[in-house]
Amino acid sequence: MSDTLRRTPLHALHLELGAKMVPFAGYDMPVQYPLGVMKEHLHTRAAAGLFDVSHMGQVIVRAEGGYDAAALTLEALVPVDILGLGEGRQRYGVFTNEAGGIGDDLMIAHRDDHLFVVVNAACKEADIAHMRAGMPGCEVEEITDRALLALQGPRAEAVLSALVPDVRNMRFMDVAVLDSDYGELWISRSGYTGEDGFEVSVANENAEALARALLANDEVEPIGLGARDSLRLEAGLCLYGHDIDSTTTPVEAALAWAIQKLRRNGGARAGGFPGADVVLEQLESGASRRRVGLRPEGRAPMREGTELYAREEGGAPLGRVTSGAFGPTIGAPMSMGYVPSEMAETGTMLYGEVRGKRMPVKVAKMPFTPANFKR
């Protein structure tokens, strides 16, 4: 490991825009721009925000037998129906480990005769090694010559379609390879904010020109990691290493929706992924704990690590907060965390210990803000 932080192709642009830079997953990344976290968040929900997510891992997986062979091989690592994914479509999934825990979460796309996978920055080396070891007969290629931009928000379609008209024809979770003035773009209609929007993979040498063209639109502001985190939390989306990790199973993490029937007991391709015995059993009988949304009653945020109790006094902690912040759109604090399954029902009153005081907090439905996807 080098001590030197890596830079994305947009690094100079971030500095020019006045970003405050922080180390993140080995990269020097913008945490906020002069607008500030709160306004960046609100702008994304009102118009469109541009995010540099080039630190994430982009991977192409090919097999001699074409898409089906690659898909079936990846199914040995991920409890998702990948063979049944239509061409030009994308799906969310997780890598599981032998204990049924989550090694990372990822986006899996069916593109032409191959898979295109996007994984978290902090996990990408491990994920690629895991795929190379666990997908015999497949070629696992890390794409290092392309940046990744996300354009998110209700005006994202209007803004991007001015440069790439065909994105209008895409629905939520569609993927497409489209030509543009910025070279070939690999586009998905998805993101990490709960808003409609796109993730755009662009050749490194064209990334800054594309970013500048998007930012030239009055509707677009650059958005840093700070607002990216509050946006995804309001949308109820997990952050790997916080809300999900190698000790949380997909069932505990309330991600059972990502495991199609076909991979469950009785399904045509049931099991066959690491930790399947644990995960399939939990799908039938439930897990002892569950990830839930939490809404503190007061204004004080309950941040990661806050311990949760059943009562205002006494007793041992029964769970803990895994992410917590103030939600600019809901105008209130919000958290997610794990609680015993019998306390996971919406409306259950719990107490979070903040600075030695137990403060009331209610189990709440997620997302905290309604999703705004173009289905």
Partner: protein, 119 residues
Amino acid sequence: MKFTEEHEWLRADGDVVAVGITEHASEQLGDVVFVELPEVGTQVTKGDDIVVIESVKAASDILAPVDGEIIEINETLADDPGKVNSDPLGEAWFFKIKASDPSQMDEYMDEDAYKDFIG
């Protein structure tokens, strides 16, 4: 006006000291979303944590600059914590403390010294 190394400003009027945070501190904190104030009548000792400020990034404290009694708090900050960013030196004072030993104020920096301190 005097300044502490914790980036608080102190405005003395006789033995009553109003306390806020500097522009520098407010910029470093980012958008403030929650302020927890002490109760009026609380006796505090210099160095006690008496205010909690939560920003979009993290929680931080304000310390009592002198020994004394809290005689007034700025309750408007509970409803509008954003004032700490928009007007840190004016409307966003946090509390007023009646100093039991006003000479404790002598150790704090004047404006020039504070400017040097933050570089």
